[in-house]
Structures are given as structure tokens and as C-alpha cells.
Symmetry: C2
Subunit: 258 residues, 2 copies
């Protein structure tokens, strides 16, 4: 696209950085560029103005421009090619991500309660033995919980924990607070990191009973395994949720508001 070099490259908008605004200059610049892409001033594949041009145009320092451009790159709105320029991306489903914020809200909700269905020591076998890296027959703690929202069953949770005789099970660990802490990041977790997986499955008869659902209906299975600071597995289990009660959504491409 040909640009008249005597004029700013922002079309008819003539947007400026408002120095009096509480919004930082680099955020304003991000939004200005996004809006220009949104309006078609810059199209996918187009080269954005160089950093030095943006400096002059908006009268900010190179570091501020750089910070704004980096944000656009982080958000997969643009990509930089060293020595060449910064280019607007096409829409890219591969860069999409589904967040678990919805689940976080579920656990922070006041009407969410936990019902302990079972707590007992079981001998490790099969998958639990493998996942938790303990020999078959070694004792594990099995916890089965039902998570309710407004007294309606929502999640069925089955979890195997490493049995440590020196650390008795504290009641608080069984309550909703422990799970809430996991999802919200509050609480001082013993876990260093973990792995999560989502699968599509159908509800088994065991699960159907506690979830008040019919066997064979669709459900999400959210598997988890957590490791302690020695990188030893500590907890393995999974959540089951009826498919009609949960879904994950996200957006791709340029969003009107950040």
C-alpha cells in the first residue's frame, strides 16, 4: 500500500497518545494499532510502520514503541522478522487457547460446596501405581468427592494421593478450600507443578449415579497429576463433568477491546 509520507499513516483517525490519561502510553499505542488493523488500515500481511517511524509519529521513545509492538507479538496479532519488519498476522486457530477461568469462578462461587463420598487407604495398582510411581500394593489415599453448585451435582472428583504416614490427612485438605486454592492460586500449595488433560468421554454407571445423569451421555474428563518440589508425583485423579454443563470458549483474531 502506498502511503503519502507527508501525512500520518493512521488514515482519517489521527489518533494521538493522551499524556494526561491514566492509561500508559504503550497500552494506548497497542490499542491504536489494533484499531487500525480492525478498521482495515493495516491488513493481514501488511508491514507495520517501522519502530523509528512510530517513535516520530506518536512522539514516544523507542522503548515505549518496542513494548507496544512486543505486546502485539505476544498476542499473536503481528510477527517480527529481524532486519525486515513487523507484519500483521492472519487469523490463526493454532494460536487459540482455552482457559480454565470458568472453573476458577466455579470454585470461588459461594454456592459451591463439596461432599466427601469416600476417603480410604487402598493398595496401589494399575494406572494409579504407574502414575504415582509407586510399587503395586503400596498404600495410597483414595478420595472421592462430589462438587455441587446450588446443591446440584456438578463435578465428580476421584483422586489418588501418596500416603505419607508422617503427615496425617488434615480435614481442611478435604474441604472445598483445598480445591479452591488449587484453582485460584490462593493457599500455600505443596505442589510445584502439574499436568492437565481434557478428554471427551461418556458417563459410566458409577458416575451417572452420583451426578444424577444418564449413563452414556457426553462428559468432559479433566485429568490431573501434581508433583512436589522434588518432582515426585503426589496426586493423580480426574474430574468428570456432564457435557451439557460445561464448555470452553475463546476468541481468535483482532478483538475490539483488549
Amino acid at each position: 500500500m502506498e502511503i503519502d509520507k507527508g501525512k500520518p499513516t493512521n488514515g482519517d483517525l489521527d489518533l494521538k497518545i493522551d499524556r494526561e490519561s491514566y492509561e500508559p502510553a504503550y497500552i494506548q499505542l497497542v490499542n491504536i494499532i489494533k484499531q487500525q488493523i480492525s478498521l482495515g488500515v493495516f491488513r493481514p500481511g501488511d508491514k507495520l510502520p517501522s519502530e523509528s517511524k512510530l517513535c516520530k509519529e506518536y512522539k514516544v521513545s523507542p522503548m515505549t514503541v518496542r513494548r507496544a509492538v512486543n505486546i502485539l507479538i505476544d498476542q499473536a496479532v503481528a510477527n517480527a522478522v529481524q532486519g525486515s519488519g513487523t507484519y500483521v498476522n492472519s487469523i490463526n486457530l493454532g494460536s487459540a487457547a482455552f482457559h480454565l477461568k470458568g472453573l476458577q469462578e466455579f470454585f470461588l462461587d459461594e454456592s459451591t460446596t463439596v461432599k466427601i463420598l469416600e476417603v480410604r487407604i487402598v493398595p496401589a495398582k494399575d494406572r494409579a501405581s504407574k502414575k504415582l510411581a509407586v510399587g503395586g500394593g503400596e498404600p495410597l489415599i483414595l478420595i472421592r468427592r462430589l462438587l455441587l453448585k446450588d446443591n446440584e451435582p456438578f463435578f465428580y472428583h476421584k483422586e489418588y494421593l501418596i500416603y505419607d504416614p508422617t503427615r496425617p490427612i488434615v480435614e481442611s485438605e478435604l474441604e472445598v478450600t483445598s480445591l479452591r486454592g488449587l484453582f485460584s492460586g490462593t493457599g500455600s500449595s505443596e505442589f510445584k507443578n502439574g499436568e492437565l488433560g481434557i478428554e471427551a468421554t461418556v458417563i459410566s454407571s458409577e458416575e451417572a449415579k452420583v451426578l444424577k445423569a444418564e449413563t452414556g451421555t457426553a462428559a468432559f474428563l479433566l485429568e490431573h497429576i501434581f508433583y512436589d518440589f522434588n518432582q515426585s508425583p503426589v496426586s493423580w485423579g480426574w474430574f468428570i463433568c456432564r457435557g451439557d454443563k460445561l464448555s470452553f470458549t475463546t476468541t481468535v483474531g483482532i478483538q475490539e477491546t483488549l
Copy 2:
């Protein structure tokens, strides 16, 4: 935790920034701090050294420290409280995100092919009419595709497109390249943005036939709607994939390697 102020706060590691390395200083600093958290030098809830201390300790400028700390904050490893300090986060499932990179790889794979099952003009009705914001009875393009990998059915894709008589359907838009472009960000898309959703479902008889699966087995449904640069809906549809052929995984907490 009490720290002997005469010594560096990195325990027995005594890690330094290697100025000769190709790895930028700020990346090295990110990894050093992560490793310290990983080793338990800093635990969840602990305050990280202040920026000025990190400057002195690693002999880098404030901007470099700042950049490293911002990366940790972006990765949800730590959080900053203005006027107070920067604190290590607990593990937080709510910040977890499932990426579609796996699907991107699927579409980039050479052995992935597309079989067009049907292309025809249909009158808009029900959900398609609503989602694409056209009146009932208006013409829409319906495309049904089967995506195969190594000649085995993988995805069933059903898509409704706005019918624009001025823009005839180009054959290339029906091939795998168009979908590949969507997932990889290559290709010059007409779409500005879109919304995606994942649901758990069971395979219907129609879907079972083309996917060579049994009715009633678990499946993922990936719904999509795309908008053009006028923010008008252009495409609505969904992918169906057998649950045993697809899963989404991610990690939470501190990872050993970035």
C-alpha cells in the same frame, strides 16, 4: 526467610549472567529465578528480591531486570504488588490454558487430506440463520468435509457460509489449504476474528457413518464462527472428532525448561 545480606540470595548455585551467551540476559535471568523457585530457594508466597537488588546482584540495568520480572508475571509464576514487592505464585489451575497447537500440526501434516462430501446452496434456517444473522430462507453455502490422516477419517466438518453471488466459490477454498491457512495463520484470510467453543458430545448416526465410528461414542465438538472486517458473521460450523483420537494437555506451575 532470613537471607544473609553479605551473600547472594541464590543459595549454593551462585548463578551468573553469561555475557558471551547467545541467550539474552533477560532470558537467562528468567531461567535463574525459575530454577531458584524450582529448587525451593523461593517458595510460593515468598517475596522475590527487589528490582534494585537484582540489578546489583546480576550486574544488569533496571530495564533488563524489569523485562525478566515481567516475563515471570506474564507466565503467572509471580505477581507484583506496587509499593510492596513481587511474590511467587502458588500453582493455579485457573491460569491454565489448552492450546490448539496439536490441531495446527494435524493440518500442516503432509498426510492430511480433505474429502469434500457435499457442497450446495441451502436456505437458512434455525441456528444457521441466527448465527450468521440472515433471514430465514436466505441462501447459504453448506460444505461438508471429511478430514483424513493417513487415509483414516479424523474430523468431520460441517460449515455454513454467507452466500455472496459476486464472489463465486473458488475451488481452492474447498481444499485442505484453506483450512490449513486458518490453523497455521498462513494464507490471506478474509476473516478479522472469530469465536471458538469446545463441547463434549456423543457421535450421531450421521457422524458415525462418515467417521467410521459407533453411534454413542464420545467425541469433541469444536464450534467456530468467523467475522469479516465489517464485523459481520461469514462462516459458522463445527468439527467433530472421536474422543479417543484427540485430547488436550497442558502444564501448570513451574516448568524445568521454558
